[in-house]
């Protein structure tokens, strides 16, 4: 295996790790918020999905770049 593909795979793993970290923080905060205020669960879920999608978008950029370097 070439060095560049090793680097690409490692950076893909890094991007996924960072995205997982970010989304887990969102999920944690949303869970806590919902348990505190169950009546506003719908609004919280909507905002949670939007923010998670924004993080996922950045992570996908990174994964695409890694894929091109592979």
């Amino acid at each position: 295996m070439e060095l560049s593909s090793v680097a690409a795979v490692l950076s893909a793993a890094l991007a996924v790790f960072a995205a997982a970290f970010g989304i887990s923080k969102i999920g944690k905060a949303a869970m806590e918020a919902i348990s505190r205020q169950p009546e506003s669960a719908g609004n919280i879920r909507t905002s949670m999905i939007i923010v998670a999608a924004l993080i996922e978008g950045v992570a996908l950029f990174a994964v695409v770049i890694c894929f091109m370097a592979l």
């Binding site: 719908g42 939007i50 999608a53 996922e56 978008g57 950045v58 996908l60 994964v63 695409v64």
Partner: protein, 400 residues
């Protein structure tokens, strides 16, 4: 009433789908057995396992397209190992014919029209002339190189791509989705037109669709877009149902499904461009002012730092939409295909290993398919929601 009509329409649709397929079933493997054997590496291991696990194999398996023709009993010592990467890639890629199954070494597939403009002018013909490795008017499907799997012609000694607007498998899949959506929504619309005081509540299909549309409209479009949401609701709902139907059909492994529609970046590109146009063509004056002359200290605008970032932001939002849908569906399909590859990859390890790995693979496949059902809905939902949010952000009104 509605139910019986739904059934009738479904039956008619199934017939309409099945008849052209049945009339033009082609089996082009046998004629080309010699040529394909000469060009493509023969893999008896895989052939063997395909025939052994017909029940478990995905019916749209096209990996065995060229390899299955020469049936070899037993395992040849010089057999090439099963190549999972190639098999997965072949399933995810677009193709010129709709491969249904391989039965006893014969390929059953529906040929689709090829429309190309080569150096000798326009050509329209059915794809079964070339999919077996044949050549038609100088056009053939490249086996390797940068145009692998695409129609090429030889001009002055090098391969060249003609202008290709063929009705490929993905394009055909889009038409199937359109047909399904037309039937669903026209039926529901007719039920609405016919209702009266006695029978006011929609039933059956119309009731199901009303529930779905209402929930998307109330929970996504209304809060995200803002006050003039009715202007954008038709586009957003169409996008939602198109993506949802395509995702679900992509999970069905046999004929009317099986095309990788939303896992094709060209399709998601068009969807993202549609959202891009909806956001920017209907953006208010304040939206453009916030991009090019925002309310920030002047030195941030004099050196156009903020405007440049905001301007790039216009394009990154739909780009992320495109990549998200494409990558999610593509990843889901490749995971399911990779899991099914376990069966064929362990075929030469003996009955015990292969049997247990098959059981594991089937269990995982069921699990992944359930997960993909969730993803199919979630990605359509997320696409609709983000499109609504972007449209809503472009509808800013100056606060008095």
């Amino acid at each position: 009433m509605i139910l019986s009509r739904t059934y009738r329409i479904l039956i008619v649709m199934l017939l309409a789908l099945a008849l052209p397929g049945a009339s033009s079933f082609c089996a082009h493997a046998e004629d080309d057995a010699v040529t394909s054997a000469a060009i493509q590496p023969v893999s008896p291991v895989q052939t063997d396992s395909v025939s052994a696990h017909t029940g478990l194999e995905m019916p749209s398996d096209s990996a065995a397209r060229a390899d299955a023709a020469p049936m070899v009993a037993g395992i040849a010592p010089e057999a090439e190992p099963f190549n999972p990467k190639k098999m997965v890639m072949e399933h995810l890629a677009d193709s010129y014919d709709w491969h249904i199954t391989t039965f006893k070494g014969r390929h059953i597939s529906i040929p689709l029209p090829v429309i190309v403009k080569s150096s000798t002018g326009w050509h329209v013909f059915m794809s079964n002339r070339i999919t077996g490795g044949g050549t038609y008017k100088g056009l053939y499907i490249a086996k390797e190189g940068s145009h692998e799997g695409k129609i090429v012609e030889d001009v002055d000694g090098d391969q060249r791509r003609p202008i290709d607007i063929s009705l490929t498998k993905t394009a055909c899949g889009i038409l199937v989705v359109c047909a399904i959506m037309l039937v669903l929504f026209l039926t529901a619309a007719r039920a609405y037109k016919k209702r009266n005081e006695v029978d006011y509540c929609p039933k059956g299909l119309a009731g199901l669709l009303e529930w779905l549309i209402d929930s998307i409209l109330d929970s996504v479009i209304k809060p995200c877009v803002g006050e003039n949401y009715l202007k954008f609701a038709p586009y957003l709902l169409t996008a939602f149902f198109f993506i949802f139907c395509s995702n679900l059909l992509g999970l069905v492994p046999f004929f009317p499904g099986g095309a990788n529609i939303t896992g094709n970046i060209a399709v998601t590109l068009v969807l993202a461009v549609a959202t891009f146009l909806a956001v920017n063509l209907f953006g208010t004056k304040e939206y453009y002012k916030e991009i090019f002359w925002p309310d920030v200290p002047v030195f941030l605008k004099a050196i156009p730092l903020m405007p440049v970032i905001e301007f790039i932001g216009i394009f990154t939002k739909p780009f992320a939409l495109m990549m998200r849908l494409f990558a999610n569906i593509m990843a889901g399909h490749s995971i399911i295909l990779s899991i099914s590859c376990i069966i064929f990859a362990t075929a030469h390890l003996g009955a015990a290993v292969n049997g247990s790995m098959t059981a594991i693979s089937v269990l995982f496949m069921v699990f992944m398919n359930c997960l993909e059902l969730l993803v199919a809905f979630l990605q359509a939902y997320v696409f609709t929601m983000l499109s609504s949010v972007f449209i809503g952000l472009a509808q800013v009104k100056h606060e008095e």
